[in-house]
């Protein structure tokens, strides 16, 4: 475990006032907020920033942290010395158990209830006879669009905070095999009962909410339950009409291309979008692709068309 310099994370000096810390936090929170940030690893940076603010904006924690920080540099290998927080009183405000799941091992070891209660600190929620349901947890997962059409079993790996024999928090990788139900939409949640944080004092575990996102697929675009795809066709298929076979997320289909089609013509296959109580539609957009004029024969055919067809697309546009 590495020592974290929370002052460095927020970009403030060790003498920063509470107001300066708040200001620095808000600036970074705006920069790395997952909803708006385009910064790489914004979510992870936001977690670090939240963690630094949680410690430095609490006078009790900041005082204890400052004392510890005198002996360490950022990134240095670190184990909290026994009774590092002896002599400090923590009111317990400001940290929820949900935070411990989201924050780093470094934070959890210093300020997690296991880190202190196990060493005779204020046991708080961990006291004898105290029972509490574990916190709900949240994770985002990416699935293929095809999984929403057919359903699938997917393995997901999560970091779960746990206590060791000494009462210290460590994170353990927990791999779950999850059945992705058919008909799931982008942004929808799957609730896994009892797969959240463990309960306290024998209380039940919380639930795990998985937020579904589709892995980008250059062949398909999705809006709600409707799916859009572009299908290339030859000029003669577009001009004369044709019956073509094309792959779709639910399998290959025979598609009737109406005569006189142009690039951009959209054909709706009703009910062939993501299945559900009201299944979405599949929109196929035609793209007319010209054969290359890379042989004598091909060039001859183009020349014949140029002579035989009275066709000027710019005239039709009035250009």
């Amino acid at each position: 475990m590495e020592f974290k310099d929370y002052y460095q994370v927020l970009g403030v000096t060790k003498t920063a006032t509470a107001e300066e810390i708040k200001k620095a936090y808000r600036k970074l929170a705006r920069k790395f907020h997952p909803d708006v940030s385009k910064e790489p690893e914004a979510e992870q940076r936001m977690q670090e920033v939240n963690e630094a603010k949680a410690v430095l904006s609490d006078p009790e924690k900041r005082l204890a942290y400052d004392q510890l920080a005198q002996q360490y540099r950022s990134g240095q290998d670190f184990q909290p010395p026994p009774d590092w927080d002896a002599g400090f009183e923590f009111s317990g405000r400001g940290f929820e158990e949900a935070d411990l799941g989201e924050f780093s091992d470094f934070f959890a070891n210093l300020f997690g209830q296991g880190g202190r209660a196990g060493r005779g600190g204020q046991a708080g929620r961990g006291g004898r006879g105290y029972q509490m349901r574990g916190e709900d947890r949240h994770a985002k997962i990416n699935i293929d669009l095809a999984d929403a059409f057919h359903g699938a079993a997917r393995a997901i790996t999560l970091q779960v905070p746990q206590l060791d024999a000494q009462g210290r928090v460590f994170s353990r990788e927990h791999t779950l095999s999850v059945q992705i139900p058919k008909g799931v939409k982008e942004g929808q949640h799957i609730r896994l009962l009892g797969q959240g944080s463990p309960g306290v004092g024998g209380g039940p575990a919380g639930d795990l909410y998985l937020e579904i996102h589709f892995t980008p697929d250059s062949r398909y675009r999705v809006e709600g339950r409707d799916v859009y795809q572009t299908v290339p066709v030859t000029p003669w298929e577009a001009a004369l009409g044709a019956s073509i076979e094309t792959p779709t997320p639910s399998g290959a289909v025979k598609l009737k291309v109406p005569a006189g089609s142009q690039t951009g013509r959209r054909l709706r296959l009703k009910g062939r979008g993501i299945p559900g109580p009201e299944s979405g539609d599949l929109y196929v957009e035609l793209e007319v692709v010209l054969p290359p004029a890379d042989t004598d024969k091909a060039r001859e055919l183009y020349k014949t068309m140029a002579h035989e067809l009275a066709f000027d697309p710019r005239q039709r546009r009035g250009g």
Binding site: K22, R26, E135, T175, V178, Q179, R191, Q195, Y228
Partner: protein, 102 residues
């Protein structure tokens, strides 16, 4: 080696979550949710509010409101305004993507 069994979850569709479920999933008190519903900041216009049932969209919105209020010490109305804009932005991006323009 942990034994792998396939876990079947519950799809949070229309009218799935109770008031207690929603509050717990956001790590907030039930009153926090009630206040925001009564102020029209959450689940506004949802046909399920009368029966105190909530959707996946309500969960996402409630978590976003909660995070904005906490991170910026924002007033609930301001957090809701930012959330409205974020949601509108996402809707437009989705439409652009569906049109093959993003």
């Amino acid at each position: 080696m942990e034994q792998q069994r396939i876990i079947r979850g519950e799809l949070i569709d229309e009218a799935t979550l109770t008031l207690e479920d929603l509050a717990r999933a956001c790590s907030v008190e039930i009153d926090w949710v009630i206040e925001r519903i009564e102020s029209g900041l959450l689940a506004d216009g949802s046909p399920y509010v009368a029966s105190w049932r909530f959707t996946s969209h309500d969960l996402t919105r409630a978590r976003r409101l909660c995070q904005l209020e906490r991170d910026f010490e924002a007033a609930p109305e301001l957090a809701a305004l930012a959330t409205d804009l974020i949601e509108e932005n996402q809707r437009l991006r989705d439409r652009l993507r569906a049109a093959g323009m993003a």
